[in-house]
């Protein structure tokens, strides 16, 4: 059928006038149908689309315009053992990643990712990604925490932006072969008897709710860092994909593993990339000491993030923080000199200047640990197909890639620059596998009325109510308790406190009030929906952390300070029970070549 820019929906842009086969209306004239529906237009979603457009009728649903996806915020780099600067090897990349993950990463998946990394970078370069260059005109590479060679390919300190815009540009090249529903909000995943059938989504501009039927659905919906007070994550990172999956009766994996990045801009949480330390920046405590020599003398500031964040937190907790409240540490770039700061770290320079009024050329920048990356998410196999239960059975027609997924290549702690890589590598793999899967799959029928009614009922509950609870205080209290009771350091008693608080907030949320009753661009309602997601997954973060009586990677229990491979060398799987409660089960980690050993830097 023929679509034109005029007859296309507002908020969905169609890049050519012809859109072969897309958008078959049902008799009611409302059902949207595509072979493949991708939710998310960050690196993972766009890379998958690249693989599929032209071969299948493929659509992307995204709650923000593609170029505004959070991948664009990534600063420091993307890892690949190109060996442009030194004698790096894929072997070393694999080992560093396994070790960085504190041995919770699945080693077969890690091997796939690292092996495919150089090809991935060259491919992005060929598509036009502007990479910074060496004197030999090759892609430049720099140091990053936990990587034992100069491995991070970068575009100044705007690497994610450069990669995301490169793929966004490609969507224009795909013309009518790809349909993008921008500013559409996915609210529900439809899975029946282990078969995925589609999603329900809402056009934000009009409030119209539609069922999208699909032979295959791919979630590439990003992370869940927003439930912390200090976070580097976009407001959009509210774990929508993870929660839609969970509510559809599927498990979530390793949710307790949340990475805290050592250099969030004090009080804002905005990220100052590790590239700042990769280029030679120091961390100082309130006494002006480079405290990392106490914690990781070998790697100093370039130890993995979990270790550096904990070191900072220890300095702060023991009274050696900087500032009037001794509640931050300092990132010192002064010795790098103005020229290098402006050439290699321009964004960091401007962020410090615009948000804190600090000139990084002349003064050290106040920083603190900030919730940054979600290691946990939707469990998948190595081809991104979603896993149904602890036996590893799979859901038909449902895939996940990028930060919303848990393959798991990052295990208990992600190494910086590995997640842009993950999104690109596994986005492509998902695309390839979906091409196969969709050619044999059939569209199945959906009870459209029932699906929409289910979503409407949830929304009506919060919109058409005389309830009194305010949205913002609930969110604020949640973020506070997550940061201070389930953050860099955790203990059994603090987690119990956090758990109690989260359930109490969930209860209050049932009576939350949404003042905005309009249909069009109702961000008040979206915030309420998102808060519902945050409350639900936060409980899983806390529950997983409470159960896991050990310290591993980003999960640091003060009451169980060591790693316990005997009991805990496994992935947590959280299932939703009929009554809305949860149940935790466990699944073994895949170990191929590297037996767990003590992790020292």
């Amino acid at each position: 059928m023929k679509w034109t820019a005029q007859s296309g929906e507002r908020g969905s842009y169609i890049l050519d006038l012809e859109c072969g086969g897309a958008g078959q209306y049902s008799e009611r004239g409302v059902m949207y149908s595509h072979d493949v529906v991708i939710v998310g237009s960050g690196l993972a979603g766009l890379r998958a689309a690249q693989e599929l457009a032209g071969n299948l009728d493929v659509a992307i649903i995204t709650k923000v315009y593609p170029s505004r996806s959070h991948s664009g915020a990534a600063q420091g780099g993307v890892a690949a053992a190109l060996a442009n600067m030194d004698g790096d090897s894929i072997e070393a990349h694999i080992y560093d990643t396994v070790k960085g993950s504190d041995f919770l990463g699945d080693q077969d998946a890690i091997e796939i990712m690292c092996n495919d990394a150089p090809r991935t970078i060259y491919e992005m370069e060929h598509l036009g990604c502007p990479f910074s260059r060496t004197d030999e005109n090759k892609i430049a590479q720099r140091a990053f925490g936990g990587h034992s060679f100069l491995r991070a390919c970068f575009s100044a300190d705007r690497t994610g932006h450069a990669l995301l815009h490169t793929l966004f540009e490609q969507t224009y090249k795909m013309g009518g072969k790809l349909q993008v529903y921008s500013e559409w909000y996915m609210t529900r995943l439809i899975v029946e008897d282990g078969v995925c059938k589609g999603v329900v989504a809402m056009d934000i501009a009009t409030g119209r709710m539609e069922v999208f039927s699909a032979k295959v659905v791919l979630f590439a919906s990003g992370g869940y860092g927003r439930s912390f007070e200090i976070t580097s994550n976009a407001y959009a990172n509210t774990g929508d994909g993870a929660i839609a999956t969970y509510r559809a009766g599927l498990p979530l994996q390793d949710m307790e593993f949340v990475q805290f990045h050592p250099t969030g801009l004090y009080q804002h949480g905005i990220l100052l990339s590790e590239a700042a330390r990769g280029e030679g920046g120091y961390l100082l405590n309130g006494n002006g000491e480079r405290f990392m020599d106490k914690y990781a003398p070998g790697k100093m500031e370039l130890a993995p993030r979990d270790i550096v964040s904990r070191s900072e937190q220890t300095e702060i907790n023991e009274g050696r923080g900087a500032g009037p409240d001794k509640d931050y540490v300092l990132l010192d770039l002064r010795h790098l000199g103005e020229a290098k700061i402006l050439e290699r770290l321009p964004q960091i320079y401007h962020l410090a200047k615009d948000f804190l009024g600090v000139d990084a050329v002349t003064d050290p920048v106040p920083t603190q640990p900030t919730a940054h990356y979600s290691m946990g998410g939707i469990p998948t196999d190595n081809d991104c197909q979603v896993i149904l239960d602890e036996t590893g059975a799979k859901v038909e027609g449902f895939f996940a890639a990028g930060e919303c997924s848990c393959v798991s290549v990052h295990g208990a702690n992600r190494l910086g620059t590995n997640s842009l890589l993950e999104a690109l590598v596994f986005g492509r793999r998902a695309g390839k596998k979906i091409l196969e899967a969709a050619s044999t799959a059939k569209s199945s029928s959906i009870d459209e009325k029932r699906e929409i009614a289910a979503v409407r009922a949830g929304i009506d509950k919060i919109v058409n109510t005389s309830a009194k609870e305010e949205l913002h205080p609930i969110r604020k209290e949640l973020k506070n308790v997550m940061t201070y009771k389930a953050g860099v350091y955790r203990s059994g008693s603090e987690l119990a406190e956090a758990h109690k608080k989260v359930t109490e907030l969930q209860e209050r949320f049932k009576h939350v009030r949404v003042d905005d009753k309009r249909e069009n661009f109702n961000t008040n309602m979206l915030e309420a929906i998102e808060l519902g997601h945050m409350l639900e997954y936060s409980e899983l973060i806390v529950a997983g952390a409470e159960a896991r009586e050990e310290s591993r990677g980003a999960h640091a229990r003060t009451d169980f300070p060591t790693r316990d491979d005997e009991k805990w060398l496994n992935h947590t799987m959280a299932f939703r029970k009929g009554d809305g409660g949860y149940e935790l089960k466990y699944r073994p980690v895949v170990i191929t070549r590297f037996e767990p050993e003590e992790r020292k830097y």
Binding site: Y65, N137, Q267, V514, D516, R518, F521
Partner: protein, 320 residues
């Protein structure tokens, strides 16, 4: 103005129920270091949940939060409120050159569609992917470094004076995007791109007002990029269009006479053999004559025109 109470006057409009935009006031106690986005969130979360605006990253990289503050487009998340308060008041409105969807949210479809017209993707010379990266010198990279920083926030698009009168103009964002490929040593489509954007609605329609560069929150600075494209287009001989003829005509008459020959220039711009074009400007010429505004039929020379001729001659030599 530092701390204290600030009155936000925000332009509200819901086209589905309001007949016209109206101002609404909110009072906010300003804390040090607060950005405009912080304040908007404060208003939305504690005073009026119905206020609609876009934002996502909160760190000046996603491009969602452009809006007009006191009449000028900025990124809300990177603007310090204390820098913009005038007599305790801040006025907020949606960005310009767009249609309002609700409050500060505007329809961006025309904005994204304009990009299409510059084929915003790399068109390499050869389709065969080499085994490794293509080489690029640091200097070559530095040519595209500014234009690749564009975050597509639309601040320049909002305040572009040409777009305001002609929505067919490609506009600063699309032109900056074109720059990013024209100057990319890896792109093979430069010649074609230059031909296309030298035509009507392209580079030559820019009036150099500089609003785009003033508004740009990144290093893109569209006006500078447009200027660079113009220089390249001229240098590479893209002279078969009105804009280029105008430039050449300008140089010819000033170089010859030291003065602009205002009779010659329009004819040169349109093209001496372009009959329909000439006919189309005739009414203006006739009206000017009617009102006695036409330039003298026999053009003047400046005194000491020889010196001007010398300057031009030396410049030509220098250029060679």
């Amino acid at each position: 103005m530092s701390n204290g109470e600030v009155t936000f006057i925000i332009e509200r409009f819901d086209p589905e129920k309001d007949t016209a935009p109206y101002p609404q006031e909110y009072k906010v106690i300003l804390e040090p270091g607060q950005t405009l986005l912080n304040c908007l969130n404060n208003i939305k979360w504690t005073q009026d949940q119905t206020l609609a605006y876009r934002y996502s990253c909160g760190s000046a990289i996603c491009g969602s939060c452009a809006m007009r503050i006191n009449g000028k487009a900025v990124l809300a998340c990177k603007t310090q409120v204390s820098d913009c308060v005038k007599d305790g008041v801040i006025r907020l409105a949606p960005i310009g050159n767009t249609k309002v969807v609700r409050d500060l949210v505007v329809d961006l479809e025309p904005f994204w569609n304009a990009l299409k017209r510059v084929r915003p993707y790399l068109t390499p010379d050869s389709q065969d992917a080499p085994e490794k990266e293509r080489e690029q010198t640091a200097e070559e990279f530095s040519k595209i470094d500014p234009s690749t920083t564009c975050i597509m926030c639309g601040a320049c698009y909002s305040d572009c004076n040409v777009l305001e009168v002609d929505n067919q103009f490609l506009g600063p964002v699309a032109l900056a995007k074109a720059h990013r490929f024209i100057f990319d040593s890896r792109d093979g489509g430069g010649h074609q791109r230059l031909t296309e954007i030298s035509e009507t609605n392209g580079i030559w329609d820019c009036t150099h007002c500089g609003e785009c560069t003033t508004r740009c929150p990144t290093e893109t600075k569209p006006l500078s990029r447009i200027e660079e494209i113009k220089v390249k287009a001229m240098a590479e001989g893209h002279h078969g269009n009105a804009g280029a003829r105008h430039v050449l005509g300008f140089r010819e008459t000033v170089g010859r006479r030291g003065l602009l020959d205002e009779n010659y220039l329009p004819l040169r711009t349109v093209g001496f053999f372009n009959i329909p074009g000439l006919l189309s400007i005739m009414p203006v010429g006739l009206r000017m004559m009617w009102r006695g505004k036409n330039p003298p039929m026999i053009p003047h020379y400046v005194d000491k025109v020889g010196e001007v001729n010398n300057i031009f001659a030396r410049f030509e030599e220098f250029r060679k």
